[in-house]
């Protein structure tokens, strides 16, 4: 662990373009940088959180080309040209989304640190349900999934909340799914 030989060359850098929340950014990045660190440290978009940096908590969830991903597991250099939406990009013109409103109404947050990831994840869940994609909790994978509690819990289980706001999160997603 302590015996890795060091070599001297400068870190390898690359130029990439990312469209984040609708704005295009030309970025010079370290090729070792994760998408999460690029968003947080280079673009100052600190909405996406770092809870584990290992793909184990979901705090860093963002929408990458429309799909939810753990931004800590994505190398920025591998996503040249990608379209990224973070929690900062969910509300448009200061108008909350149904999900954001439902999170507040159901107190689906406490410390708020998992919340951006929960919201990005839930945004994708609504989309996945809308497109009829099944989950492990879908009784009949061939049929249209119903946004009941079991279905929502299963789909939201990649986002840990140590404060234990799950009951509120499920209620909020259910409400937004049925609106």
């Amino acid at each position: 662990m302590n015996s890795v030989p060091a070599d001297g060359p400068d870190p390898v850098r690359a130029e990439i373009t990312l469209t984040v929340n609708g704005s295009e950014h030309r970025l010079g990045i370290d090729t070792r940088a994760s998408l999460l660190d690029t968003l947080r440290e280079d673009l100052g978009l600190t909405g996406a959180k770092k809870g584990c940096d290992h793909g184990q908590c979901g705090a860093c969830t963002v929408l990458l080309d429309g799909r939810r991903v753990n931004a800590c597991l994505a190398l920025a250099v591998a996503h040249d040209g990608a379209d990224v939406v973070t929690v900062e990009g969910l509300a448009r013109d200061g108008r909350p989304t149904r999900l954001q409103e439902a999170f507040l109404a159901h107190d689906a947050l406490q410390c708020g640190y998992c919340t951006p990831g929960q919201l990005c994840s839930a945004t994708a869940v609504l989309d996945e349900l809308g497109r009829g994609l099944p989950s492990a909790a879908t009784p009949d994978p061939a049929a249209e999934p119903v946004p009941d509690d079991a279905e929502i819990r299963e789909r939201m289980s990649g986002n840990l909340c140590r404060c234990g706001a799950y009951a509120g999160i499920v209620a909020a997603v259910r409400e937004a799914a049925r609106a």
């Binding site: 662990m1 809870g51 184990q56 410390c111």
Partner: protein, 685 residues
């Protein structure tokens, strides 16, 4: 039913946590951890790391600034050649980017003279000793009557040993700091903690500064659950690195490093003996606890303390023994003492219920204590019985068939269990300032921390009440050590302590207000030191009861909790919306404690092996089904001006026992060792 004041910031990503303040010219820190559990550092070779482009400095024992010694030996970061536990910080790299810092940290070579390490807690360890005090300032041992004789003479006896494993707090936001030194020598810390005033005074001591030379900003904190209640080594390390490099330094403890460096709940081994009559009335209560501490910091988990006040019994002994092991320092984790202690006591009560045939709810009602058995003081209020009755009615307890192992649906066994909860209702001294602005609004200042409790909102509600104004007219300022001094968000004493100061400041302000408010505003300050010290003597505690239903899979041994209800008596509930989340959040962590959470100590390496969230399981969304918390009305005039008891911790107390008792009801097997994993269950089915 008030929404969180910072809710909008939190759902839009605008809320700034410690790591997220935009600063120029920042550098990044990555720490190096000891790879032996005990020994001496012989040499630190930083050459390779220093040769990497972008590396600014490597700190280790040889070149780190000297610090003033403080009580908590964990804060003597890089001050000694001794390694006290595996994972202790032994060096740090500061670099231009997080990627370079992390990579360079892997190239720092540390040579050790390892020594045999002692890392396993045993009830017969020869190093066990009685600490002078246990956490909370309580005596280690108490005894009244003749517990041994009374136990021996009892008609019904429970004598059982319960164990709880090491558990890690794991707030979702890691321990993070951005440290910078201003030109005038002021240390500024954007830091994730449970109390900026406490971090300020401790860091001032460590760096030999006046408290006014340290500023701690903690506006939003992503959870703590006790682990951020005292400054941990990370904040000291960041401050040192900023001093050495002359740059603002950012350090977020990686999740895997949190296991060793940011505290955890000690494992416990608890022997409980209950002696009772055939009617279940207790005559003897004996609760003896064995726990661990580290070589650098004494922490004595007060797990037998609740047995001192929970039930009436003429004969009682409680005892704590701890042993210094070569392990990371245990510390506070949500309801230290009560959480493991009430798992043991409330499991033993269930065993007594089974032996006597008395219904578990009725057994607790029968043993309710009219006054504090230890001090003889009256309770300021005690509504345990009301919680039990209310919960029984709501949960449908009366229809319960007490026979274990008889409810089977397909390949699932069903059962229900109950356990009581308690937590002290403390109030500590503090200060607050209330200010009337010329535009008719008010600003209320107190150095409180909102770690997700809803403190900011609760204090605004309290202030609006005291000022007889609308909530919308009150602006709360918290989370900054420059604000009036406040206790940490800990011991469920935050809202009670801060709220008392806020009410007094608001009252003082109202007295001063007459007519027009001048352009500079009107301000009043309050300190509650005298008020808190001169309070009448009462035993002040919150109470509660958990009701849990479990489903046990006969094929996999997996335990699920389809339904759980908590009923609490905690004085006036200031903001029902956030309060419910606090209770349910505690119960959720209790489900984790019962079924999932365990940090496994590897004797060969002398360290916890499952140091991440893939291997240390906390409850996920799918683990939590029907769960709710309610409360009974309780008017208690002896607490504080709000009539409120703290609610941050009681939700976890007793929760694991209710589940374990339900598993017994479902299966007929008694699980005395947590967590109740499929492997343990399968072995008993």
């Amino acid at each position: 039913m008030t929404d969180r004041l910072e809710g909008w910031e939190k759902v839009t990503g605008a809320a700034r946590y410690a790591y997220e303040y935009p600063l120029e010219n920042v550098a990044y820190l990555a720490a190096v951890q000891a790879t032996v559990a005990r020994g001496e550092i012989l040499a630190v070779d930083a050459e390779a790391a220093l040769g990497m482009p972008g590396v600014l400095a490597v700190l280790s024992g040889g070149n780190a600034p000297r610090l003033a010694p403080v009580d908590d030996g964990e804060l003597a970061v890089l001050q000694s050649r001794r390694v006290a536990y595996r994972g202790q910080f032994v060096a740090a790299v500061i670099a231009e980017t997080p990627e370079t810092a992390a990579e360079a940290a892997r190239h720092v070579r540390v040579e050790y003279a390892p020594e045999a390490a002692d890392v396993l807690l045993r009830a017969d360890h020869e190093g066990l000793y009685a600490p002078e005090k246990v956490n909370g300032g309580f005596p280690a041992d108490t005894e009244s009557g003749d517990p041994d004789a009374a136990f021996a003479a009892s008609a019904v006896r429970v004598d059982a040993t319960y164990t709880t494993p090491a558990e890690h707090n794991n707030p979702m936001e890691p321990h993070t700091t951005v440290a910078l030194w201003e030109d005038d020598g002021t240390l500024v810390l954007y830091d994730s903690n449970q109390g900026p005033s406490a971090v300020q005074s401790t860091l001032a001591e460590v760096f030999g500064l006046e408290p006014a030379q340290v500023r701690v900003i903690s506006e939003h904190v992503g959870g703590g659950f006790g682990s951020k209640g005292t400054p941990r080594p990370n904040v000291v390390l960041a401050a040192m690195a900023a001093r050495v490099t002359g740059r603002p330094v950012k350090f977020a403890v990686p999740r895997r490093q949190m296991w060793a460096t940011t505290g955890y709940r000690t494992p416990t081994i608890q022997r409980v003996r209950l002696g009772a009559g055939l009617d279940g009335r207790l005559d003897a209560v004996i609760h003896e606890v064995v726990a661990q501490t580290s070589a650098v910091r004494e922490f004595a988990e007060q797990a037998a303390v609740p047995a001192r006040m929970m039930y009436r019994a003429a004969n009682r002994r409680t005892r704590h023994r701890i042993v210094r092991l070569d392990v990371p320092s245990p510390s506070w984790m949500r309801a230290p003492g009560e959480t493991p202690g009430m798992f043991a006591l409330e499991s033993a009560m269930d065993e007594l219920a089974v032996l006597t045939g008395v219904d578990p709810v009725e057994l607790r009602v029968r043993n309710d204590a009219p006054e504090d058995p230890e001090s003889g003081l009256p309770f300021s209020s005690r509504n345990l019985v009301a919680c039990l009755r209310e919960g029984a009615a709501r949960f449908g307890w009366d229809a319960r068939d007490p026979r274990p192992g008889v409810r089977r649906e397909g390949r699932t066994l069903l059962g229900t269990g109950v356990a009581a909860a308690t937590y002290p209702a403390s109030t500590r001294p503090g200060e607050a300032v209330a200010r009337a602005e010329p535009d008719g609004t008010f600003t209320v200042r107190v150095a409180a921390a909102d770690i997700g409790t809803g403190a900011r909102t609760a204090l605004a509600v309290i202030a609006a009440d005291a000022l007889k104004t609308d909530l919308g007219k009150v602006r709360m300022e918290i989370g900054d050590s420059r604000l009036p001094r406040a206790v940490v968000a800990g011991g469920s004493a935050g809202t009670s302590s801060w709220g008392t100061a806020v009410v007094r400041a608001c009252e003082a302000l109202l007295v001063r207000l007459n007519g027009e408010i001048p352009p500079e505003g009107v301000e009043a300050r309050a300190s509650t030191a005298d008020e808190v010290r001169s309070r009448q003597k009462y035993a002040r505690h919150a109470f509660g009861a958990h009701f849990a239903e479990v489903a046990v899979d006969l094929d996999t041994g997996e335990v699920r909790v389809p339904r759980m209800l908590g009923v609490f008596a905690a004085g006036r509930i200031i903001n029902p919306k956030a309060a419910r989340s606090q209770f349910v959040g505690g119960m959720t962590m209790g489900i984790g404690m019962a079924l999932l959470e365990e940090s496994i100590m590897d004797e060969a390496f002398g360290d916890h092996v499952n140091r991440d969230l893939a291997q240390y399981h906390v409850p996920t969304c799918a683990d939590i089904r029907k769960i709710d918390a309610v409360w009974v009305p309780e008017a208690d005039p002896h607490l504080n001006p709000m009539g409120a008891k703290g609610i941050g911790e009681i939700g976890i107390v007793g929760a694991a026992a209710a589940i374990a008792n339900a598993v017994h009801h479902a299966t007929g097997a008694r699980f005395r060792d947590l967590p109740i994993t499929p492997a343990r269950v399968l072995a008993e089915l």
